[in-house]
C-alpha cells in the first residue's frame, strides 16, 4: 500500500509538471517543481520501476536517482531541441510523461516483481 502511495504521489507530481505552463506562474513553487522535474522525478520513478526495494543502499539509490534523472533530462532536451523545439511546455510535458509512464510500469509490475539480489 505504501508503495502504491509513493507511485501515486510521483504521478501527481508528474501531472503537475505537465501542467506547469498552464497552472504555475513563475515563482518559488515553479522553481521547486522544475528542480524536481529535472533532477529527481524521472530518476526516482524509473528506479522504482527497475528495482525491487533493498537492492541498493540509500546512498546508491540517491546517486542512481540523480544520475538517471540527469541522463533522461539530457536526452529529453536534445530530443526536443532537434524536433519540436525546447520550450517550457515541451520539457514539462515530456518529462512529466516519462515520470507517469515509469510509475504506471511500477504499479503494473509490482504484483509480479520478485525480489532480486544482484550479485556484487
Amino acid at each position: 500500500m505504501k508503495s502504491v502511495r509513493i507511485e501515486l504521489a510521483a504521478m501527481i507530481l508528474g501531472l503537475l509538471a505537465m501542467g506547469l505552463e498552464e497552472f504555475l506562474a513563475r515563482g518559488p513553487v515553479s522553481v521547486v517543481c522544475g528542480l524536481l522535474l529535472i533532477f529527481v522525478l524521472p530518476g526516482f520513478s524509473v528506479m522504482r520501476a527497475v528495482l525491487s526495494q533493498g537492492n541498493l543502499s540509500m546512498g546508491e539509490q540517491a546517486l542512481a536517482t540523480l544520475g538517471t534523472s540527469l541522463a533522461i533530462s539530457v536526452c529529453a532536451a536534445v530530443f526536443l531541441g532537434a524536433t519540436i523545439g525546447l520550450t517550457r511546455q515541451s520539457v514539462a510535458v515530456l518529462l512529466g510523461f516519462i515520470v507517469i509512464a515509469a510509475c504506471l510500469t511500477r504499479l503494473i509490475r509490482s504484483g509480479s516483481l520478485k525480489r532480486r539480489k544482484w550479485e556484487d
Binding site: 527497475v50 546512498g59 546517486l63 542512481a64 538517471t68 536534445v78 531541441g81 532537434a82 523545439g85 525546447l86
Partner: protein, 648 residues
C-alpha cells in the same frame, strides 16, 4: 569488474554522526576563510596574504576529511558521504571565487550555447567562441531546460547542473573504485586522490561540457557494474539513455568511456569464460563506440578540426620535436609574472609523492591480495590490472606540458588518468582479508608494515595532503587563484563589468550577431552578454598590430568582414596574464614573450583615421564602426593628412 575474486567482508563499523557533524563544522570554517580571502582580494587587498588565507582554508577543508576517511573503524556510508561532501565543498570554493557570474573562458562558450537554445528553441546555433561545442548540446540543452521550467537565470541553472555533476562524479567514483580495490577504505582514499587532481578545484567545477559528460560516464560505469548480471529491460534502458547522454554531451568523455568498456570486456573475455555480464559489457562498448564515432563524424563535423587540427596534431608535432632533442616551447607555471619558488616546489612535490606512491601501492596491494604472479592479478582482479595500466601512463602524460600546444592537452588528461591513479594509490589502504601467511620478501613486508596501523594512516593522509596542495599549483596559475580587484591596475584576465556594459549597449543599439574584432577576453563578453559574433582572434589580431589603418589592415578588415572594433585600452596598462601570455591569440607577434604592455600607438589609429567612427566610449572601452572599410565604400586616410590635403 564485479566478477573480480570475491573478498569476504570485514565487519561494518557504525556511522558516527557526531564526527561527521564536527567535520561539517570545520569545513564550514574553511569556507568562511576562503570567502574572506576572495572578498579581500576583490577589494584590492594584499594578494600574497589573501593567498595564504586561501591555502589555510583549503587545508582546513581537506585534512579532516582525509584523516577520517583513512581511519579503519569508519562505516562505508560515512566514507562515501565524506568523499561526496569534500567534492561539494571544493565546488563551493570555486563558486566563492566567482559568485555572481561565470568567469572562466569555457563557461562563456557554453553560456553562448545555452543562450542560443533559449533564443531559438533549437540546437546547433552558431557559436563564435567555439563552433564545435554547439554540436555537443547535452549541457546547454539540460541547462536551457532547467531555465525554461524554473525561470532561474542561466548562471544559477548552470551552477546547479554542474553541482549535480559534481555529486555524481564523487559518489560514483567511490562506488566504482570500491569494486576495483575491493575495499571501502581504499575507495575513500581513491576518491580523495581524485579530488586532489590538478583540475578538480577549478577547471572540473566550471560550466563546461566535460564537467557533465565525465560524471555521466562515471555513472554509466557504476550502473553497468551494478546491473549487468541481474538487471531487467528497464535497467538496460537506463544504461542506454546514459550512454546516449554521454554521447550528446562530450566527445572525449564518450571516446574514453568506450575505450574503458572495451578494455573491461577484453580483459574479462580473455582471462575467463565469458558470461552474460561480460557479453553485455561488450555490447555496451560497441554501442557507445559506434554512437560516439557516428555523432563525431556525421553530426559534429567541426569538432574533428577543433580536436585534431587545433589541438592533438600540433601537440604531437611539438612533442616529436621535443623528444628528438628540441627545446621546450612552453614555460612551466606560465601566466603573468613568475610565481614564487615555493609554488613551483609544491607542484614538483606533488608529482614526487604520487610517483613514490606507485610502487608502495603495488607492493601493498600485492601482499594484501596474496598474489604470486602477474597472471594472478589479471585473472583474479582484472579491473585492478586496468587501473594499474592507466596509472602507469601518468608520467608520459606530463611530457606535453613542456610544449605550448600540449599544455592544455596534458592538463585535461588528468581528469581521466587520475581515475587509474586513484584506484592504484587506494591500494595503500587495502587490508588482507584472510589470515594466510604472508610469504613475501623482507622489503615487501617492510613496505606493507610501513602503511599499517596509525602510522600508516598519518602517512597516507600526509601524502594525500601534499598531492592536493601541490596539484592545485600545477593546475592553476599563481595569479588566478583569487579574483582580480574590482578596479584592476593592469590588463585583467577576466571579463570586467564595463565590458559587459559595452556588450549590452552593442546588443541594444547595433543588434545581435554583428561581426566584431577585439581581444580575446573581451570577445567572451561580446559573444554572450551582447550576442555578437566576434571573429576568431587568430584571424583578426593583425588589425591591432599596426600603427596604420590603411593598406593591409584595411584589406584584412574587408576580408574578415569586420564591421565593429572594440578597443580595450587596459591592454596598454599591463602584461597579459592568461596562460599562454597573449592579448588576442597565441600566434600574435609577442605571445609568451611580452616584456612591455601593448603599444598605445597601435590603438590610437582607430581615432586617427577616417572611415573609423567612434560609437561608444566608457572609460578605457571604445567601440568603432568600420562598416565603410568592410564594404569598400570608404578608403581610410590619416586625419592629419586629410586636413593638410584639404587646406591645400
Amino acid at each position: 569488474m564485479d566478477t573480480d575474486r570475491r573478498i569476504s567482508l570485514i565487519p561494518e563499523a557504525r556511522t558516527s554522526y557526531r564526527t561527521v557533524s564536527l567535520i561539517l563544522a570545520v569545513i564550514a570554517l574553511g569556507l568562511v576563510m576562503v570567502q574572506k580571502a576572495n572578498q579581500d582580494a576583490f577589494h584590492g587587498g594584499n594578494y600574497a596574504l589573501n593567498l595564504n588565507l586561501l591555502w589555510i582554508g583549503l587545508s582546513i577543508i581537506f585534512v579532516p576529511v582525509a584523516m577520517r576517511v583513512v581511519m579503519r573503524e569508519v562505516s562505508r556510508v560515512e566514507r562515501l558521504g565524506l568523499v561526496v561532501l569534500l567534492g561539494v565543498a571544493l565546488y563551493v570554493v570555486k563558486i566563492q571565487g566567482s559568485p555572481t557570474s561565470f568567469t572562466l573562458i569555457d563557461e562563456y562558450i557554453h553560456l553562448r550555447n545555452t543562450q542560443n537554445i533559449l533564443r531559438t528553441h533549437g540546437l546547433f546555433g552558431y557559436n563564435p567562441l567555439l563552433p564545435a561545442s554547439a554540436y555537443y548540446p547535452g549541457l546547454a540543452g539540460v541547462s536551457a531546460a532547467l531555465v525554461s521550467v524554473t525561470g532561474l537565470n542561466t548562471f544559477i541553472a548552470g551552477l546547479l547542473v554542474i553541482g549535480a555533476g559534481r555529486v555524481l562524479i564523487s559518489g560514483c567514483f567511490f562506488l566504482v573504485s570500491e569494486k576495483v580495490t575491493g575495499s571501502a577504505r581504499a575507495a575513500g582514499v581513491a576518491g580523495l586522490i581524485y579530488a586532489a587532481n590538478p583540475m578538480f578545484l577549478y577547471w572540473s567545477s566550471s560550466f563546461s561540457y566535460e564537467d557533465l559528460g565525465l560524471p555521466l560516464a562515471f555513472f554509466v560505469v557504476w550502473w553497468i557494474s551494478r546491473t549487468r548480471r541481474g538487471g531487467d529491460l528497464w535497467a538496460q534502458l537506463v544504461t542506454v539513455s546514459a550512454l546516449a547522454a554521454v554521447t550528446f554531451t562530450h566527445h572525449i568523455s564518450a571516446f574514453a568511456l568506450s575505450l574503458l568498456l572495451v578494455a573491461w570486456f577484453a580483459v574479462e573475455f580473455f582471462t575467463r569464460k565469458a558470461n552474460r555480464g561480460t557479453l553485455q559489457v561488450g555490447l555496451y562498448a560497441a554501442l557507445i563506440g559506434t554512437a560516439s564515432v557516428a555523432w563525431f563524424l556525421l553530426v559534429a563535423r567541426p569538432a574533428a578540426a577543433y580536436i585534431f587540427d587545433q589541438n592533438v596534431l600540433p601537440a604531437l608535432e611539438q612533442i616529436k620535436t621535443l623528444v628528438a632533442g628540441g627545446r621546450a616551447t612552453r614555460k612551466l607555471f606560465s601566466g603573468g609574472e613568475s610565481p614564487p619558488s615555493w609554488y613551483m616546489l609544491a607542484g614538483f612535490s606533488a608529482l614526487g609523492v604520487i610517483m613514490l606512491g606507485f610502487p608502495l601501492a603495488v607492493v601493498r596491494g600485492w601482499v594484501a591480495f596474496g598474489f604470486r604472479r602477474i597472471a594472478d592479478v589479471v585473472r583474479e582482479r582484472p579491473s585492478t590490472a586496468v587501473a594499474v595500466l592507466m596509472a602507469a601512463s601518468f608520467p608520459f602524460t606530463m611530457i606535453p606540458r613542456l610544449t605550448s600546444d600540449g599544455g592544455a592537452l596534458s592538463s585535461r588528461t588528468s581528469e581521466y588518468i587520475y581515475t587509474g591513479i586513484g584506484c592504484l594509490l587506494g591500494l595503500l589502504a587495502t587490508e588482507p582479508r584472510w589470515s594466510a601467511s604472508l610469504s613475501v620478501g623482507k622489503i615487501a613486508r617492510a613496505i606493507y608494515s610501513l602503511m599499517s596501523g596509525r602510522r600508516g594512516n598519518f602517512l597516507i593522509a600526509g601524502m594525500l595532503f601534499i598531492a592536493f596542495i601541490g596539484n592545485i599549483t600545477i593546475g592553476n596559475s599563481y595569479f588566478q587563484l583569487l579574483p582580480p580587484p574590482l578596479k584592476p591596475s593592469g590588463y585583467p584576465w577576466i571579463v570586467q563589468p564595463d565590458v559587459i556594459g559595452a556588450a549590452e549597449w552593442a546588443h541594444a543599439h547595433l543588434g545581435p550577431y554583428e561581426p566584431f574584432a577585439t581581444d580575446y577576453t573581451d570577445s567572451l563578453a561580446l559573444a554572450t552578454y551582447g550576442s555578437e559574433n566576434p571573429e576568431p582572434e587568430e584571424k583578426i589580431f593583425p588589425i591591432f598590430f599596426d600603427s596604420g589603418l590603411d593598406g593591409a589592415t584595411a584589406q584584412l578588415i574587408r576580408t574578415a568582414k569586420v564591421r565593429y572594433i572594440l578597443v580595450d585600452w587596459r591592454m596598454t596598462y599591463g602584461l597579459p596574464m592568461n596562460p599562454g601570455d597573449y592579448y588576442f591569440s597565441q600566434w600574435e607577434p609577442s605571445a609568451s614573450n611580452y616584456t612591455t604592455p601593448f603599444r598605445a600607438a597601435d590603438l590610437e589609429k582607430f581615432s586617427n583615421y577616417t572611415c573609423s567612427h567612434m560609437l561608444y566610449k566608457n572609460g578605457p572601452i571604445e567601440i568603432f564602426d568600420v562598416t565603410g572599410i568592410e564594404r569598400g565604400t570608404c578608403v581610410p586616410k590619416l586625419v592629419a593628412a586629410t586636413r593638410q590635403g584639404g587646406s591645400q
